[in-house]
């Protein structure tokens, strides 16, 4: 039987995400406004990432269709970039998924990336957890069109699908090192375009060299071709014991260390000692290089000697 979710829950979830997004309430308080899921089963979180315009949203639309056909409820969290200048955003991912808009088994929420640079919004992780709590069986998280360093999706998703398109020329340079490391599945979309098989082959070589077991599939998302293969790969990943948990935790630890280090370093720069270096730089008593070295020594000492 195809499950659905009461409209009331859609509304509660929508408002809960706004509360988290805008910092009106803590995650815990917000969670308490949602009824707990009935079936006790954990949600399956699929990350869909890749370069701008690769067809991520179109693929997500197809995946919604397949998961719904399997009787499962689906929540989508789709992130698009905020303008760094005006902080405004046009969130267009939803356009590709609108045919599911009348289906109460599908919840779609757009998020602006706001000040975050990791390919997700600062609160995407929490929004995903809220959707899981609200009882959605599958949660599809689409990142902004990413390049090399936006890897936050690892901390959120159980399985990460990296969507790419046939590369111009004969290399896979478009797929940057970072993305390769986090992929549990490669999708070469727009396989109706020349070079798809070549790109897939190059990716397969790259995967083999890395020693990881990552499927490389071809799709034409706009026509729905190849989506069944993607579903097979996702289903296998879902069933496998080797979950993403270890990788996610590792990523979060690294991120927390980095954030803590940056916070401490900034505190040094703003302290009297740091300010005096900058004053001496301004007065011409220090060269830029000297000032930087001195600040680095202070900041690193602060970071390393931290409790």
């Amino acid at each position: 039987m195809t499950r659905s979710v009461p409209v009331r829950v859609h509304r509660d979830l929508a408002r809960a995400i706004t509360a988290i997004e805008n910092g009106y309430a803590s995650f815990g308080d917000t969670l308490a406004t949602l009824p707990a899921r009935e079936n006790g089963k954990a949600s399956f979180v699929v990350g869909v990432t890749g370069p701008p315009g690769a067809g991520k949203s179109t693929l997500v639309d197809r995946l919604i269709e397949k998961f719904r056909a399997g009787g499962e409820t689906v929540a989508v969290i789709a992130v698009d970039p905020s303008s760094p200048f005006t902080h405004g955003a046009v969130l267009g991912d939803r356009v590709r998924m609108q045919r599911h808009s009348g289906d109460t088994g599908v919840f779609i929420r757009s998020m602006a990336s706001r000040e975050s640079g990791g390919g997700l919004a600062p609160t995407t992780h929490d929004a995903t957890a809220l959707a899981a709590h609200a009882g959605f069986d599958v949660i599809l998280v689409e990142t902004v069109g990413v390049g090399q360093v936006e890897l936050e999706i690892v901390a959120v998703a159980d399985v990460v699908a990296v969507v790419t398109v046939p590369a111009l020329g004969d290399s896979v340079q478009t797929i940057k090192a970072g993305l390769t490391e986090i992929a549990d599945l490669f999708v070469v979309n727009m396989a109706d375009r020349p070079g798809a098989s070549r790109t897939a082959l190059d990716l397969k070589h790259m995967v083999r060299e890395s020693g990881r077991d990552v499927a490389v599939l071809q799709t034409i998302a706009s026509e729905g071709t190849g989506i069944d293969d993607v579903m097979v790969a996702l289903t296998a990943a879902r069933a496998s014991e080797s979950s993403n948990a270890g990788r996610a935790v590792r990523f979060e630890v690294v991120r927390n260390i980095r954030d803590a280090a940056v916070r401490r370093a900034l505190a040094v720069l703003d302290a009297p000692r740091g300010r005096s270096v900058l004053e001496r730089l301004r007065a011409g008593e220090l060269t830029r290089l000297e000032a930087r070295e001195e600040l680095l020594v202070y900041a690193l000492a602060e970071v390393i000697n931290a409790d």
Partner: protein, 134 residues
């Protein structure tokens, strides 16, 4: 917090230039704009607005179908207890239809040639508490 606006093209109307211009202008004014694309039914517009928890719904209608579409949207909003959302209509709306649309609860109607600045100012002045706390 950024004001969230849903910009939709309901009905079979393919004139999307105005809707896209509005979406970009509101983004440039610092708002978060969800664009739903063409051929939206009133149900799709209201479902999307509910899930996105928007503060403002902007309907762009140039086909002449506003008298059929807008009442249905307003009705569905009421059914879903979303009366607090600010509803705007833009496009080809004859003067004689404006009063009736306003009576339905549409906050303002913007005809061709409206300056973007006026639209931005209107939204800022009339939006009801962007994302009210739980």
């Amino acid at each position: 917090m950024p004001i969230k606006v849903l910009v939709a093209k309901p009905g079979l109307d393919g004139h999307d230039r105005g809707a896209k211009v509005i979406a970009r202008a509101l983004r440039d004014a610092g708002m978060e704009v969800i664009y739903t694309g063409l051929r939206q039914t009133p149900e799709m517009v209201v479902n999307a607005s509910l899930q996105e928890d928007v503060d403002v719904i902007g309907l762009s209608i140039l086909s002449g179908a506003h008298n059929a579409i807008v009442p249905r949207v307003m009705d569905l909003l009421k059914q879903n207890q979303m009366d607090d959302v600010l509803v705007l209509v833009g496009g080809i709306i004859p003067d004689q239809d404006i009063d009736a649309l306003k009576k339905l609860g549409v906050a303002a109607i913007f005809q061709p040639g409206t300056a973007m600045d006026d639209i931005v100012k209107f939204i800022r002045a009339n939006v009801k508490g962007a994302g009210v706390p739980l």
